[in-house]
């Protein structure tokens, strides 16, 4: 057994015992623990946010406080009344009773972009469903992630939770992650991270709930309230310096309202880059080897990005706007960049605008999120129908809208399913119900057609579908 496997073994042995102990807990026990953990996390929301920004050197601490609030208060409000232990439902007519079963140890991968909030969120979901959790933090967010886990664990223990129900990896490595992911005692991987990591989770043989990359197009329709739309896009794209994967990546408008939209962006402290400046930003923001965003640009402010790219911008600029003529490899800023840089497209007409939205949606962001500002219901319906997305947010800041809770009634989540397009199993905002197995007691409720019908007739090749179905349904 390698050293890394031994390390994994130590934690897994503890975690699997915690799973056994947790199985004895009832709904009241669980709800008491979840409440205590939510309160502890909420009370530490500011210190954890500051710690995260200090350690990762990305994002905005005030916004990370809001993320911690979402992960604690909003997630708690979502799940607190949910039944997750014992009988979930019973229907005497169908004869079906649904019973919740915990999964077992959950391996929780934590991203550098939302470290403490994702830790809090995943811990609350796991405790609510009686699943022990092992936290695997990003190497650049280790201290703050572990601190968040420790705070939650202390509160959980005080409320009577099983020992070792929350564990964390002190020093992570690729080999250790592999050892955890492939261990047959691991019940589920909650993989929130980059594409490579999510793929590793799905390839491990352990069930996994992952996320997909985003590339969120925002269509501002002529029927939209333009000042509101622009304000909303800015508040979302600048939130925590663009680190939310559901934040806007490109704005698309028709020519007829382009000037109005551009003026509004300028009025609200956004800077339109010249073609030369776009080249400089691309050189800094895009990793030449991978053609994806550079780690150096993620979560940085517009001011810092401009400075590092070697361009001068006016003071108080919130977002850098790059007017592009096309979508794809030749236009690197048309793909996902988790920073306050927005691509901007002017289309000749409505159809061309939607075609650009489709191109952007399919440029690495299928299954994630799309956004529209409009007051024309038919256009909202058409846009929604065309986008391949788990969420289409309407007249809403995309980052906060997709995460749920603030602007709509989606469950608040820091793991956003992206469906088959994003190589995920679901398009849902992952919540407690996704972390239980539902067992169904199926009582005998006969289909009387089956017993009234002469089943020998199924064996007669000469009888066709209508011959059989008509008789099968006779007097039914």
């Amino acid at each position: 057994m390698s050293t890394e496997q031994e390390k994994a073994n130590v934690l897994l042995e503890k975690s699997i015992i915690a799973a056994g102990v947790f199985n004895q807990f009832n709904q009241n026990d669980v709800d008491r623990i979840v409440k205590a953990v939510y309160e502890a996390a909420f009370n530490n929301r500011v210190s954890l946010a500051k710690m995260a920004v200090e350690e990762t050197e990305l994002g905005v601490w005030q916004h990370k406080v809001m993320k911690n609030v979402l992960a604690s208060q909003f997630v708690y409000e979502n799940i607190k009344d949910e039944k997750t232990v014992g009988i979930l439902s019973h229907d005497n007519i169908s004869g079906i009773t649904e019973i919740a079963q915990p999964l077992g140890p959950v391996f929780a991968v934590i991203p550098v972009t939302n470290p403490t909030s994702t830790v809090i969120y995943k811990i609350l979901l796991c405790l609510k469903t009686r699943n022990p959790i092992i936290i695997s933090s990003h190497r650049r967010a280790k201290q703050c992630s572990i601190k968040a886990a420790q705070i939650c664990y202390e509160a959980a223990l005080k409320a009577g939770a099983p020992e070792d129900c929350i564990l964390w990896i002190e020093e992570s490595s690729r080999e250790l992650t592999h050892a955890f992911m492939t261990d047959k005692r691991m019940a589920l991987i909650l993989a929130t991270g980059g594409t490579g990591l999510v793929k590793a989770a799905y390839s491990s043989g352990t069930p996994a709930i992952g996320v997909g990359p985003g590339n969120v197009p925002v269509f501002i329709d002529e029927s939209a309230d333009v000042p509101l739309a622009v304000k909303s896009v800015i508040s979302s794209k600048s939130f925590d310096n663009g680190t939310v994967c559901a934040s806007e990546q490109s704005v698309i408008v028709e020519k007829k309202i382009a000037d109005e939209v551009i003026d509004e962006f300028k009025k609200q402290n956004c800077y339109f880059l010249s073609p030369d400046e776009i080249k400089k930003i691309e050189a800094f923001a895009i990793n030449e080897k991978t053609d994806g965003m550079s780690a150096d640009v993620v979560g940085q402010s517009a001011e810092i990005i401009a400075k590092k790219a070697g361009i001068m911008i006016p003071n108080n600029i919130i977002i850098l706007m790059a007017k592009l003529d096309g979508v794809g490899e030749e236009y690197p800023l048309s793909s996902e960049v988790l920073a306050p840089i927005l691509a901007f497209y002017v289309a000749d007409n409505y159809d061309d605008a939607l075609k650009t939205c489709i191109d952007l949606n399919y440029l690495g962001g299928i299954g994630h999120t799309a956004s529209i500002y409009a007051n024309d219901k038919e256009r909202i319906a058409e846009f929604s129908n065309l986008m391949n997305a788990g969420r289409v947010v309407v007249n809403t800041p995309s980052a906060q809208g997709a995460v749920g809770g603030l602007f709509n009634t989606l469950p608040t989540a820091f793991t956003l399913g992206c469906g088959a397009g994003g190589k995920n199993i679901t398009t849902e905002n992952i919540t407690a119900i996704n972390l239980i197995n539902v067992k169904r007691i199926c009582r005998r409720r006969e289909d009387r057609r089956w017993f009234a019908f002469d089943s020998e007739k199924f064996l007669d090749e000469n009888l066709k579908v209508n011959d059989i179905i008509t008789e099968y349904n006779k007097n039914y």
């Binding site: 699997i16 056994g20 004895q24 020992e163």
Partner: protein
């Protein structure tokens, strides 16, 4: 309350426990058992935990089970009379591979 019944002839220690073996009661139980087997020959000693009255086991109690299962020869540590939920708890924790659970 923890009770012991030692069969000298078979070098077999039977331990019966109370309803809840939680993180408060388990460390005391461990101390008492250790004291009881102190001086006994480990070589052929067998220990049986009778859980007839036990309706909750904590991680601490499971660790005690693991400790004695590893200390004794294979098959010389046994858990008997488990309630159904307790048996399932041991199964989920994977301890059935380490000890006999009846």
């Amino acid at each position: 309350m923890l009770k012991f019944y030692y069969n000298k002839h078979e070098n077999r220690l039977l331990c019966t426990f109370d309803e809840r073996m939680d993180s408060m009661s388990s460390p005391n139980a461990e101390k008492e058992i250790s004291k009881k087997i102190d001086g006994l020959s480990i070589e052929n000693l067998s220990i049986v935990f009778d859980l007839e009255k036990v309706d909750f086991v904590s991680s601490a109690f499971m660790r005690i089970c693991i400790k004695f299962a590893k200390k004794l020869k294979k098959d010389n540590f046994k858990i008997v009379n488990t309630k159904l939920m307790i048996k399932k708890t041991y199964k989920i924790a994977g301890l059935d591979k380490l000890m006999n659970i009846e």
